[in-house]
Symmetry: C2
Subunit: 138 residues, 2 copies
DNA sequence: CCGCATCCGATAGGATACTG
DNA sequence: CAGTATCCTATCGGATGCGG
C-alpha cells in the first residue's frame, strides 16, 4: 500500500478546502510523480518508442537499477506506462507509454518550452541575487 | 552558495548531451523550484495579489515559519517573487509576483488543468494496479 | 535479464527557541 | 512581525548482493 500525497487534500476541512478551491491539489498528484529524479527522462525516451528495461537503463545515464525499477513501477501504477513481460529465457520486459502517458508528455512540453525560453532570465536573477547576498555578508 | 541541479547538465559529455538534446535539462530548473511542498501554493496566492509574510503564512495552512521563509527566498532568488521590506516598527515585508513569476504561474495552469481532467483516470489506474498487486501477494 | 531486499548517506522539512 | 539557528525525523536515492 504505497503512500500518496492525498494527505494534502484530506486533512482538516480548511486544509481540504484550501486545495480544492485553488486547484492546487490535483496538480500535486502529477507533480509528485513527475518531479522525481528520473521519471521525466523515462517519459521522454518512451515517448519515442517502447524500450526494454536494460535498454532504457543504458540510455538514462546514471540511474541505478533500483531506481529504474522503482520509477517505472510508479509510472505503471499511475497508468502512464504499460509493462509487458515476455516469458522467455532470459526474461524480456518491454515498457511503452499508454495514451495517458503520451498525453502527459505532450503537456509537459509546454512547461519545458517555457523553461527553455526563460532560463537566461532565471539564471540572471540568481546571479543578481547571489551577488547581492555576497555583498551584504562581505 | 546554494546548490542547484546543474549537475544534471554538467556531468560527462554524454550526460550533458543527453539532457541538452532532450530538452530535459532546462525544465528541471523550473521543476526543482516548483515541485517542493509549498512553492505552488505561494505562487497561487501571490498571483491574486501581493501579501505580507504572516498573511501568506496564515493562508497556507500547515507551513512552518521556517519553510515559509525558505520557500519565498528561493522564489525570490529565481526572480519569480519580489520582496519589499518596509522599514517600519514592527517591520513589514511584502511579497508579490514578478512578471516572470506571473508568467510561470499561467504556464503551470496548463499542467494543473490537465491534472484535473485526468485525475479520475489516474486514480482508476492506481486502484487497478493496487488490486492486482494485492491479488498476487494473496 | 529483470527485479527484490538490505543497508547507508544525503537532503527536505517540522518544532522550538532566540534576535531586531 | 519577520527572520535565523539548532535539532531531529522521514524520505529519497545509491551500492551491493541474492533470486527466478
Amino acid at each position: 500500500m504505497p503512500k500518496t500525497s492525498v494527505e494534502y487534500c484530506t486533512g482538516t476541512d480548511d486544509h481540504a478546502r484550501q486545495w480544492d478551491h485553488r486547484a492546487g491539489c490535483e496538480v500535486r498528484t502529477v507533480l509528485d510523480r513527475v518531479s522525481d529524479k528520473w521519471s521525466l527522462l523515462a517519459l521522454s525516451y518512451l515517448s519515442e518508442r517502447s524500450h526494454r528495461f536494460s535498454e532504457l537503463r543504458r540510455k538514462i545515464d546514471g540511474v541505478s537499477q533500483r531506481m529504474m525499477t522503482v520509477t517505472l513501477r510508479q509510472l505503471e501504477r499511475d497508468g502512464l506506462v504499460l509493462r509487458t513481460v515476455h516469458p522467455t529465457v532470459p526474461p524480456r520486459v518491454d515498457y511503452e507509454l499508454t495514451p495517458l502517458g503520451a498525453n502527459l508528455h505532450q503537456t509537459i512540453q509546454v512547461l519545458s518550452s517555457w523553461s527553455e525560453q526563460h532560463e537566461a532570465e532565471i539564471a540572471a536573477a540568481r546571479a543578481a541575487y547571489d551577488a547581492r547576498i555576497s555583498a551584504v555578508s562581505a
